[in-house]
């Protein structure tokens, strides 16, 4: 049997039909890149032991366009995204599963690039991809490639985090500057026609989380401000916990190019997606220790205390502006569309 033509080949329907061609794709592309004892077994599932403790499971489907962007691609993103969702429970991510939905005609060379990027991200994070699935849809019924990853992890003893645990008086911490991912993606939309040096912040945050929960097991909750950005994620947490929040705009780090892009597109950086940042809420007493821990970790160098949890039956998130006024930071209304007025 000839080897897969990874240079000029394209995904064909036959690669999803459960026959020899699918086996070849899995063997020569997926298993070759992810290489581990579980995939080598060739079963439809993976078996493993987990350390004792409560188990955490998270899943995310990834549908980004373009598939490749400065700072990553859909492959690395799909690994980071799910590792982060597991880590946001305070857990140690242990294993990943990956489901691919490929569009007929997608270049195998691009698929290989994506898969190798996933493999690298998974290796770097120490979280192997132990089982997977591949489907092919007809041209025009997909968009190149969609990747759904699912992660399982284990909670360290004594840690208990949940979005409903924020209490008035708690401090709100952010691990770094916001908006890089979303602005990077927008910069690639040809019609918006701008270039920037910044790249996506896509990264796996589990080692940062491990350091944080070890130093401050009292953390109330963690969440990564992805789709909908900081504003929506804080609104979610406020709603879940039945509290309000008061932010300080001057403490929220936003890089100049992100501000500039938002300015001319009519967007607000608070609503722009991130893929490598986290929000932590902790009791006021531990806030400084947590901040120091975060700043001592390379992924938290720019961490800041950006606000306080307040009592508010309406669960409003508000912000003292740089200008000195106070404003609501409401949920995103619909999609954030570039606007002219």
């Amino acid at each position: 049997m000839n080897r897969l033509d990874l240079r000029n080949g394209k995904v064909e329907m036959v690669h999803g039909s459960g026959g020899r061609a699918m086996g070849q794709l899995i063997r020569e592309l997926f298993a070759a890149a992810f290489r581990n004892e579980w995939l080598d077994q060739g079963n439809d599932q993976a078996q493993f032991s987990l350390p004792p403790g409560r188990v955490v499971m998270a899943t995310d489907s990834h549908v980004i366009a373009p598939l490749f962007f400065p700072g990553g691609d859909i492959g690395s993103l799909s690994v980071h995204g799910t590792i982060n969702d597991v880590a946001m429970a305070g857990a140690r991510p242990c294993y990943l599963a990956a489901g691919f939905i490929l569009e007929e005609g997608f270049p195998l060379a691009d698929l290989q690039r994506i898969v190798e990027s996933m493999a690298a991200a998974s290796r770097a994070a120490g979280v192997p991809i132990v089982t997977g699935d591949t489907k092919v849809v007809e041209r025009g019924k997909g968009d190149g490639v969609f990747i759904t990853t699912t992660g399982v992890g284990v909670m360290p003893p004594g840690v208990e985090l949940s979005g409903d645990r924020a209490r008035p008086g708690d401090r709100i911490l952010l691990s770094g500057n916001i908006g890089d991912h979303g602005v990077t993606i927008l910069s690639l939309r040809e019609s918006l026609g701008f270039e920037t040096e910044i790249g996506s912040d896509s990264q796996a945050l589990h080692t940062l989380v491990a350091a944080m929960v070890e130093a401050v097991p009292e953390i109330r909750c963690l969440r990564d401000p992805t789709r909908g950005g900081l504003a929506n994620t804080l609104n979610e947490l406020a709603q879940q916990s039945g509290v309000g929040m008061q932010l300080l705009e001057r403490e929220i780090p936003v890089r100049e190019p992100v501000r500039a892009a938002c300015e001319f597109l009519g967007l607000d950086p608070l609503y722009v997606a991130n893929e490598g940042k986290l929000i932590a809420i902790c009791p006021v007493e531990q806030a400084e220790r947590l901040l120091a821990t975060m700043r001592a970790h390379p992924q938290g160098r720019d961490a800041a205390i950006i606000g306080t949890v307040v009592e508010d039956v309406q669960c409003f998130v508000q912000m003292e502006t740089l200008f000195g006024g106070n404003r609501m930071v409401d949920w995103l209304n619909g999609e954030q569309l570039p606007r002219i007025c």
């Binding site: 008061q246 508000q318 200008f323 000195g324 006024g325 404003r327 569309l337 606007r339 007025c341």
Partner: protein
């Protein structure tokens, strides 16, 4: 960002605010209309109202092109978008505005219509070139700021000999709307309390300050053209307070960094070449306003979607409970609308003022909702 950040300085703002408080006479009220949605947005985003003394009151005007678009004209776009073979493109702001039956361009897109969002009208041309099998229609909106780019694009379409491109033109004119505001029944009855205008920055960049001169002259209302940064707005308020205190009424220019008396003659010339005034145009809130909008000249008729598709506006009943019209006339406030924040929210807007981030209702909801309900929360903050 140069020429941006300097105009957002909070310390200077407090100084300006103190000046306004010092100079505003406690013996009178100052009713100042920010004509422009851009000012409305800045006022809420930066919390400017909090900095003003109680007797300096801001009234929101009809200066948001999304808000003043009547349902009947949006229906034209919805109708076009649903025709087979048509690709309708427009600015992101327009996609969520409800037309008849709460239909939006996003909804007809979800149903299968080919609706595209533009950042620049130049992209509409590119779409027309890339899709020769489609009728590409640019649903153009905007005041005088946005008009010259549209004119340029129509001119280019002619140069390129495009056969599948047209523009559904909804460009409107600022001074005409200001006249209308001052001649409504409410204005004449005195119900509309209006002492002066904060004039638009970017519109004036194009048209210059001269077109505002009739307002002091004919109606005795001072106008200060102001930039959209918060210090610009405060400075303009101070300048208006001073004129009113002095009993003066004239056009002053706070935005000298980009506005002259003449404006951009090249842009004006191009607009003049491609467009001509409509005898009358329907505004949400203001009704039919004479010579208040532009249409494509006959010489460019092939690019006029209204001609090309023989479109005719069908009068529709606007939602009666929606107070947008009165808000746009400056006589009501979003909180006077009983739908505000309940049936009508930014997620499910009933009126256009709840859609555009420059709409008064959206601004009140986004930035101001906490004022009633959440005031207590601020106290808790240590």
């Amino acid at each position: 960002m140069k020429y941006v950040d300097e105009f957002r300085d909070g310390d200077k703002a407090r100084l300006l605010a103190a000046r306004i408080a010092a100079e505003a006479s406690p013996l009178r009220l100052y009713h100042l209309m920010e004509f422009c949605g851009g000012h409305t947005h800045a006022i809420f985003r930066y919390g400017i109202v909090d900095l003003l003394p109680d007797n300096v009151r801001l009234i929101h005007g009809p200066g948001c092109p999304v808000c003043v678009m009547p349902v009947a004209r949006l229906d034209l776009a919805l109708d076009l978008a649903r025709r087979p073979g048509v690709m309708l493109c427009t600015y992101g702001d327009m996609l969520r505005v409800p037309g008849s039956g709460r239909l939006t361009l996003l909804k007809v897109r979800a149903e299968g219509a080919d609706v595209r969002m533009l950042y620049s009208p130049a992209d509409a041309l590119k779409l027309a070139q890339a899709h020769p099998d489609k009728e590409v229609v640019f649903f153009a909106i905007g005041f005088e700021t946005t008009t010259p780019p549209t004119a340029l694009v129509i001119e280019q379409a002619r140069r390129l000999g495009l056969k599948n491109f047209s523009v559904l033109c909804n460009h409107v004119l600022t001074p005409a709307a200001m006249h209308a505001i001052l001649t409504t029944p409410e204005s004449e009855s005195g119900e509309l309390q209006l002492d002066g205008f904060i004039g638009p920055a970017h519109v004036s960049t194009v048209i210059g300050s001269a077109p505002y001169e009739p307002f002091p002259e004919r109606y005795g209302k001072p106008v200060v053209i102001a930039g959209f940064e918060p210090l610009d707005v405060l400075q303009a308020i101070l300048m208006l307070v001073r004129q009113l205190n002095d009993g003066r009424a004239m056009v002053e220019n706070e935005f000298t960094r980009a506005v002259t008396r003449e404006g951009n003659t090249k842009a004006k010339g191009l607009t003049e070449k491609v467009f001509e005034p409509r005898e009358s145009f329907e505004w949400r809130g203001l009704g039919s306003v004479p010579y208040s909008a532009l249409r494509i000249r006959e010489a460019y008729g092939e690019f006029d979607a209204e001609r090309r598709f023989a479109l005719h506006v069908k009068p529709v009943q606007e939602n009666r409970a929606c107070e947008c019209p009165a808000i746009l006339r400056g006589v009501k406030n979003p909180r006077d609308c009983r739908l505000f924040g309940t049936s009508c929210t930014p997620d499910n807007p009933l009126g256009s003022c709840m859609v555009s981030s420059e709409g008064a209702c959206a601004a009140y909801y986004r930035y101001g909702r906490y004022r009633e309900a959440g005031a207590a929360a601020r106290q808790v903050y240590a």
